[in-house]
Every structure is written in structure tokens, then in C-alpha cells.
């Protein structure tokens, strides 16, 4: 007995994926040769999957390179909170120092932007160092770890983490 559109529709995804038995597949093919509506559904199934593939591939392009071990256990948002607290303390300390030294002859005082940059760099370097040290236990990650130390030492040379990284390289 010939199947209805409703019955065929249930098989269309499996048909498009090649998951039907030969006899079911030929039933569907026969129905499709006569039914334009179901043919349109098959085309839509394929088209929507192609377009989904474009969306996914684009997303993948955007995130290529993410997920490599670079950070410590503190997530981005928590880390920002801690960084903000540390930055706040350092800014207050910097203001105090500026006030105290105001009366003394002027030397090359660091600007707030420089202080902020140094805090940011120190934080980044420390996170990278923490991740590298965590990885150091994995035998297969030795080269990654070494690269990581070098990267820290070269990219953030004026930070305490860079000094540690240099020691580890030796």
C-alpha cells in the first residue's frame, strides 16, 4: 500500500542521511517522484543543513586557537574581579606615594597608564606561569611548557613571572 505524505515525512531525515533500508528507501524515492511538497522538504532539509554548516564553520573560524592551556583555575570573570581589587589597592598605594613624594624634587614619575599597564602585564604573566607550572607535570607537554616560559620571559620581561620563567628555562 502506498504511504501517505505524513508517513513519508517521518522517513525523510533518515532518507537524506542514507539510514533507511533499501526497500524503505525505494518507497520514499517513489513517493518523491510524485509529490512536490515532499521533494521541497528534502531540498529544505539539505539546504538548512548546508547553511547550518556555514554558521558553525564561521563560529569555528572565530574560536580557532582557543582552549590552549594559558590560564589558572580562576575564570575570566572571577579573575577580572580579583584584578580589579588588586588594581584598586595598587592605585590607592600609588596615589599615596605620589602625595608623599610631591614635596621632594620631581623625578620621572610613572603615569597611571603605565602603572595600569604594569599591573595588567604582571597579571597576565602570572596567569601564564601558573598554567605552565600546572602543565609541567605532563611529560608530553614539556615542549609546550618550555615555549610558554620563553613566551613569558620575552613578552613580559619586566614582571616577576618573567624572572621565574627565566629560572625555569635554565
Amino acid at each position: 500500500m502506498e504511504k501517505s505524505c505524513e508517513q513519508i515525512e517521518k522517513l525523510l531525515v533518515d532518507y537524506a542521511d542514507g539510514e533507511l533500508s533499501p526497500s524503505e528507501s525505494s518507497d520514499v524515492a517513489e513517493h518523491l517522484s510524485k509529490c512536490e511538497a515532499c521533494r521541497r522538504t528534502v531540498v529544505a532539509l539539505q539546504r538548512s543543513l548546508d547553511l547550518a554548516g556555514i554558521v558553525w564553520a564561521d563560529g569555528l573560524e572565530e574560536i580557532k586557537g582557543v582552549g590552549l592551556p594559558r590560564t589558572s583555575g580562576v575564570s575570566r570573570f572571577k579573575w577580572r574581579r580579583y584584578a580589579a581589587a588588586v588594581a584598586g589597592i595598587l592605585v590607592v598605594a600609588a596615589i599615596s606615594i605620589v602625595c608623599v613624594t610631591r614635596t621632594t624634587p620631581k623625578q620621572a614619575e610613572p603615569t597611571f597608564a603605565e602603572i595600569e599597564r604594569q599591573i595588567d602585564e604582571s597579571g597576565r604573566a602570572a596567569r601564564l606561569l601558573a598554567a605552565a607550572e600546572m602543565l609541567a607535570d605532563c611529560p608530553s607537554a614539556k615542549s609546550i611548557v618550555k615555549q610558554q616560559y620563553r613566551y613569558i620571559a620575552e613578552t613580559y620581561p619586566r614582571t616577576p613571572a618573567a624572572a621565574q620563567a627565566k629560572l625555569r628555562i635554565r
Binding site: 531540498v43 556555514i54 607535570d137
Partner: protein
């Protein structure tokens, strides 16, 4: 047990106490592309994917279970990544990159169709599918992504999501039909 699985189990035995997490972490590194695909398929942007995958890597390093085989380790990593990405997807319910950005990137890469009309149709279709993916129920999106973007079969997906292969196929059918219907409902020329 396959050769690779024996290697994983053997590495774990040899390395003693730290082994299960370290071995799992090494597998995380080798499977990173698959895990990135999951994140991209679930619509995470770069920053959120970075957060999600860092969480997975740390979980593997600190609390990863002792897996008997490489396959089991990969399944665990996939499952943890899916759950982590789902948390984000449930909150955001969107794909970060807009259709215009996708089209622009494709134009730059000279991969898109030519002709103004063809471009307009493609953009409209792409927006419909992008929107439909955002609105797709979590369970359906997960199965569709694992099947068609990560390339797993129904049995493998079932092992990860703790479902039967037939339940996976049911979800795939439902998800695919929703995407197809949204495309036809908009009266898009096929």
C-alpha cells in the same frame, strides 16, 4: 582493547598517582579540535569558548576520572564540554556572529555566491537558519551538532548523552525537520 586504548591504560598505570588526570589532559590537547567544534556548534563566541574550554581543561587536570580507555576519556571530555557549552547556550540563546558578519567573511574569502539577488537570498536563508539554531531546544541542538558538525554517529552520541541510538535518531529527525520547516515557512525559493 585497541592499540591506542592499551597505550592510554598503560600510560596511566606507569605514571602512578598523577596519571589519570595527566593522561586525560594530554587527550584533551589532542582532542581540542573536536571540543572547539562543539563550542562553535553551540554558538559560543571566542571569549566564551575560551572560558568553557579552560574550565574543561582544568576539570580534566584536577578532577578527571580514571578512564579505562582512550575512547572513554574522549567520551568524558566530550560530555563535559557539551554540558559546559549548554550552560552558556541556555543563558545566551544566540549565535554570537551576525549573519552580516558571516556573509562579509565569506565574501572576503570569495566563497559566496555571486550576483546581488543570489546574495540577498543567501543572506535571508542564512539568517533564518542562524535564528532557528539559536532557538532550537538544547537537547536537539546538541544531537544535531554532534552528528552533523562533530561527525559522530547515533551510537556514539547515545553513549555520550546516555541515550539509545534510536532516541538519538528521533532527536535528529525532530531537529532537522524544525530547521527545514523554518526555511520553507519563510517562503524561501528552493
Amino acid at each position: 582493547m585497541s592499540e591506542t586504548n592499551r597505550e592510554v591504560a598503560g600510560a596511566g598505570d606507569r605514571a602512578g598517582g598523577r596519571s589519570s588526570q595527566s593522561v586525560l589532559f594530554e587527550i584533551y590537547i589532542t582532542e581540542l579540535d573536536r571540543l572547539r567544534r562543539i563550542a562553535a556548534g553551540m554558538g559560543l563566541g571566542a571569549a566564551d569558548a575560551e572560558d568553557a574550554l579552560q574550565d574543561v581543561s582544568l576539570k580534566a587536570l584536577r578532577r578527571g576520572p580514571k578512564c579505562k580507555s582512550r575512547d572513554e576519556a574522549v567520551r568524558w571530555l566530550t560530555k563535559v564540554t557539551v554540558n559546559r557549552c549548554l550552560m552558556h547556550h541556555r543563558r545566551e540563546k544566540r549565535f554570537t556572529r551576525s549573519t552580516a558578519e558571516i556573509i562579509k567573511r565569506r565574501t572576503e574569502n570569495a566563497l559566496e555566491q555571486t550576483g546581488t539577488d543570489a546574495k540577498a537570498i543567501a543572506a535571508e536563508e542564512l539568517e533564518v537558519v542562524r535564528q532557528s539554531l539559536s532557538e532550537l531546544e538544547d537537547t536537539l541542538l546538541t544531537t544535531v551538532v554532534l552528528r552533523y558538525f562533530v561527525g559522530l554517529n547515533s551510537t556514539e552520541i547515545g553513549q555520550i548523552l546516555e541515550l539509545s541510538a534510536s532516541a538519538v535518531r528521533t532527536r535528529l529527525r525532530e531537529g532537522r525537520m524544525i530547521l527545514a520547516r523554518k526555511l520553507t515557512e519563510r517562503g524561501i525559493e528552493l
